[in-house]
């Protein structure tokens, strides 16, 4: 166990609770695999395009963390709400947003899902209940609670799922949102993707407790939930369980998923601040490699999996081409959609 002020080690797997369903059907497994592969290939492509200076500004990739998006995405009802952070390509895509629309948004094209107005850090697809990517750390946590409050009042049976990082557990909005969610018994599931680092600082060196989210759960009367964030079966099981609880009116959950970025925090960050042996240990736990291995062991055929790989690669290629073919947004768009009448008129 590490304590306050020390750097975080990879938490012992023995601390992690098992949530994987005893039995999982073939289709679900293949779908979990497909989702992770799609997200991986998309993010790798986004990185390549960034290096080619086609993706401008910044981007925060989910490489290495795909299992969280896949596991939850698979477990959520089609109309459950997703709230995520600037590291939100995966969470938005997994709800069904078009790869072309997302890629074009990264490229600043008019066929981007936000028409080029939001960019990488604000991906949103309301038609898929992806209610936004938020770039101010922690801000979306009370907003997700608000969507859950509305779902409860409308008796819609929807659950809001809110993804955030380990660093987010130290900002006030985290605590305000959790307290409100518990007091109002809201159908919201908060998911901390603990990748052990904020941008460059190890979370253990700035946090009062070793498990930044799980160790705070008791302060809100919530169950301590620590799950393997690189195992989609575990995440699917964990998500299903707490989504169902929330849907049944039993209130919120706070889940901490242990995972790791394959690369740096953003842009071209090489992540040099991470010790070699730590990186090595985590790279050996690549969620897609591990899952592919498991599926092969379970008797899935390699050709079947290869076919998924090539199908998703073709989809990413197509999206890349369509995004590149998009035009720069018309400058006429600048003064649109400030207000609900579609414009920005502030005076007569």
């Amino acid at each position: 166990m590490t304590g306050a002020g020390e750097t975080t080690e990879v938490p012992a797997q023995s601390e992690v609770t098992g949530y994987a369903p005893a039995e999982l059907d073939r289709t679900t497994r293949l779908e979990l695999y497909r989702k992770m592969v799609a997200l991986r290939l998309f993010e790798q492509r986004a990185y390549d395009l960034f290096l080619q200076n086609l993706v401008k500004g910044t981007s925060h990739l989910s490489l290495g963390q795909e299992a969280v998006a896949a596991g939850f995405g698979q477990a959520m009802r089609a109309d459950d709400y997703t709230f995520c952070t600037y590291r939100g390509h995966a969470h938005t895509l997994v709800r069904g947003a078009s790869m072309t629309g997302v890629m074009a948004e990264l490229l600043g094209r008019s066929n981007g899902i936000l028409g080029g107005k939001g960019g990488s850090m604000h991906l949103t697809s309301v038609e898929h209940y992806a209610m936004g990517s938020y770039a101010i750390v922690g801000a979306h946590m009370p907003i997700a609670a608000g969507a859950a409050w509305s779902a409860m009042e409308r008796d819609s049976g929807q659950v809001a799922v809110c993804f955030f990082g380990d660093g987010t557990t130290n900002i006030g909005a985290f605590h305000e949102a959790l307290n409100l969610a518990v007091v109002w018994k809201l159908p919201v599931v908060f998911v901390c993707e603990n990748n052990l680092y904020m941008e460059y600082t190890p979370i253990g060196s700035v946090t009062a407790v070793p498990s930044p989210a799980a160790d705070r759960a008791s302060a809100y009367g919530l169950e301590r939930v620590l799950v393997d964030g690189n195992d989609p079966d575990e995440l699917y099981g964990c998500a299903s369980r707490f989504l169902e609880r929330a849907r049944d009116g039993d209130g919120p959950a706070l889940i901490e998923a242990l995972t790791y970025r394959k690369g740096g925090h953003s842009r071209a960050d090489p992540g040099k601040y991470r010790p070699d042996d730590e990186v090595e240990r985590w790279m050996a736990r690549d969620p897609i490699d591990l899952y592919r291995g498991r599926l092969l062991e379970l008797g899935f055929g390699a050709p079947e999996l290869d076919e998924i790989d090539s199908g998703e690669l073709a989809a990413v290629d197509r999206a890349t081409q369509e995004a590149k073919d998009g035009q720069a947004p018309d400058v006429g768009a600048i003064e649109t959609q400030v207000f609900a009448d579609g414009g920005n008129a502030w005076r007569n």
Binding site: L114, A139, P142, A145, G146, A147, E153, A173, L180, A340
Partner: protein, 323 residues
């Protein structure tokens, strides 16, 4: 017509809208069981029940954030922030999230919500419970900003704000809560972005907001006795801003004075002064003069606070001496 206090008009406006639209919900600190620290919301809990009128923890980010999340998913929340000074604790949610999300999502998200808050000085509360912050909100694209001066406008503009599909910052003035005025019977809804001429005169135009409106009117009466006949315009809504009413008046009076409770720099009157200077420069017979609180945090002692805000005397003297 019935005579209501400004504070009772708040409850009346809320009740009117909650009655007609069951997606209107209220949240805030001490608003339900206690009826609000300024007693602007009594009786609503009893009338609409604990789900639609709900007390919150002291969590301004959670209050405004929850309002935002609910607004994007089908409710029309009205969130109360006890004092406008507290918007500094949730300025991220208001200025970064609520104001910008529609734009950043290219119109995918609509946020029909109202943030009501008690604004302004006069209560000897000192610098952290007395500010006039409507110009902070005015500076952020995506927010509408309303500040009523009469009970009728409280009800009518609050109703309009709740019905509006954009986020509205609704600034109620603490020192006006006890004032009384006639409020039309039955459903009463005003329009955002329409200024109101409170007094007509041909010599000068005085533009004022909220608690500065009655002071401007008093000063105008004194000036009239001296032969200076002023128009007094109650701006009512800073965003959208009814520049036409102001420009029309200045076109005929050729003089403009603003009376602002905010500290000097970047007050709302500066924007109006710049518009008038740009568009009516050659119609002006003299400089545009802004009458504001000096650029200081507000002092608490009654003698100091009273002398800090624009007084009737200062408005009167300024206009008389520059005429």
């Amino acid at each position: 017509m019935a005579e209501l206090s400004y504070r009772d008009a708040v409850a009346a406006g809320l009740a009117q809208e909650m009655e007609r639209d069951d997606t209107v919900y209220m949240i805030g600190e001490d608003i339900a069981a206690a009826g609000g620290v300024f007693k602007a919301t009594p009786g609503l809990l009893e009338r609409f029940g604990p789900r639609r009128v709900r007390d919150t923890p002291i969590s301004e980010e959670a209050i405004t954030g929850a309002a935002m999340g609910a607004a994007m998913t089908g409710l029309r929340p009205v969130a109360e922030l006890m004092f406008s000074d507290f918007i500094a604790t949730c300025w991220d949610i208001i200025a970064n999230q609520i104001a910008k999300t529609r734009y950043m999502t290219d119109g995918q998200i609509t946020l029909p919500l109202v943030i009501r808050t008690a604004n302004g000085a006069g209560s000897r509360f000192g610098a952290q419970h007395s500010q006039s912050l409507e110009n902070w909100a005015m500076a952020v694209p995506g927010l509408k900003v309303v500040a009523p001066s009469t009970p009728a406008d409280v009800k009518g503009l609050l109703a309009a704000s709740i019905r509006d599909d954009d986020p509205v910052m609704f600034f109620e003035h603490k020192s006006l809560y006890a004032t009384k005025g006639d409020v039309p019977d039955g459903e009463h809804v005003e329009e955002l972005g329409v200024a109101k001429v409170r007094r007509e005169g041909s010599d000068a135009t005085i533009v004022a907001l909220a608690a500065m409106v009655p002071r401007a009117l008093d000063a105008a009466e004194r000036l009239a006795a001296d032969g200076i006949d002023c128009t007094v315009i109650d701006v009512r809504s800073l965003v959208p801003l009814d520049t036409q009413t102001i420009l029309g008046s200045v076109r005929s009076t050729s003089r403009l004075y603003t009376v602002e409770e905010n500290p000097r720099l970047c007050g709302w009157g500066a924007e109006i002064a710049s518009i008038v200077a740009e568009e009516l420069f050659y119609d002006l017979d003299g400089p545009i003069v802004r009458i504001t609180t000096p650029h200081v945090p507000l002092p608490a002692a009654d003698a100091l606070e009273d002398a800090t805000l624009p007084t009737v005397e200062r408005i009167y003297q300024t206009i008389k001496n520059s005429d």
